[in-house]
Amino acid sequence: MISERPLEITSLTKVFETPEGKHVAVKDFHVRIRPGEFVSLHGHSGCGKSTVLSIVAGLQSATFGGVVIDGREITAPGLERGVVFQSPCLLPWFNAIDNVILAARQAHPELPSAQHRAAAMRYLSLVGVGEFARSMPAELSQGTQQRVAIARALSLEPRFLLLDEPFGMLDSMTRFELQDLVLELWERDRKTVILVTHDIDEAIYLSDRIVLMTDGPEARVGLDLAIDLPRPRERRMAMEDPEYFRLRGEVIRFLEHSGNQFAKEAA
């Protein structure tokens, strides 16, 4: 079955041409993601985790290697991959629902526009901001805007959700709310999720697996950590569960060894 094929990132290498010469940001990055899996990419800032996600999204191209979905290499963005960026990136000249309709129409161009509107409204309600459908982005809080952005990504009806530090700019209360929202959405239909984050607790709380990247340049997979905490998860876990402490410790130990060293020791 085609949908059972994993998303595969194979020997992904990204070289940037800079005035000072070639900069190898990511080298031989290798990850295989099962359908329905929730995977976090984690590492020190600037390690190239966003670069990897942006290549998976099709916004950048790999220098060597690449990303394969359903046995086909990715060269451009696709509707099967919904992306949520760090900033909400709503188009400021459209109100919330029109921003979502833009995506809903792409998913089903054959349907009449009343249905796009209905679908957009459904997704806005699903993420809890139905009441703001007619508000302009500038009138909405960051958290609400990000919810609209999530609704926009969902309305593409994608199989993959690519989240690029989507909660990075939010205050912690709002961040918690949105983490729970994403978790809830994921429990609902088990889309394959790749989340780039620099928040350890966020990564552990949400993921099935954390892929820790070594420090750049030439960042690669330093540690592939399975998170076997039972689901549904509760935030309380972070205070009580010894397994949670163990996992957290492991991530911190990796980060403290500044990534590269750790990988060398492990090798």
């Binding site: 099709g58 963005p77 919904g82 960026f85 990136c89 188009l91 459209f94 833009l102 995506a103």
Partner: protein
Amino acid sequence: MLKTLENTALAFTGIVCMALLWALLSATVAPDLPSPLKTWEESKLYILHPWDKRGEMDQGILRMAAYSLFRVAKGFFLAVLIGTPLGFLLGASPLFHKMFDPTIQVLRPISPLAWLPLGLILFRQSEPAALFTIALCSMWPTVINTMQGVRSIPQDYLNVAKVLRLSPWKRFTKVWLPATLPFMFSGYRLSLGLAWLVIVAAEMLTGTPGVGGFLWQEYNSLIYSHILLCILTIGVVGFALDRLMGMAEARLRAA
């Protein structure tokens, strides 16, 4: 409210000061310069009956201004029609930009007085030559602002367009155009100002009825007060045009 009143009073005082200086100059060092009073006496026929038509080049000042405005509108429309797509192309395509930007930078500073003879040769008639000159001279702010607007579309919006796989047409109407609109309008405002600036030169050389043409004719007929009438009219109309465009621009930004 009080502030506006104060500002209006100050502006009015400024105008009075300038008129006094004008009167002083005409009374002392510049005897050929008609005094404000003389200018009024000799011009009031044109101002009090602004829409009269007594002859081809003897018409009320408003009628003259209307001729000029109509001509400017045509030239400006042409400039916008050519300048906007050109700006989009320059902004969107680095290749196009590298190819044509140097040429544009060379064409930009050329005075209307230089283009006009070429227009007369090309079109053999004064009206199209005037439009050609107005369009060619006033186009550049539109071109350059539109180009800047396209180039400064935030990468975020472009990424959204890519991720949603918008068609080129939708990318243009839903992202590029709205993102560029404020820049375009700044360009239009500057272009309109330039078009109005060019009109006088164009009409002077082609001798067509309008404030510029009238000005030149009255210079040749040695009626200097009418020159001042024309100059003031040009200034007031130019000011009004800029204000109107400014209001349109402000409304656009608010929307």
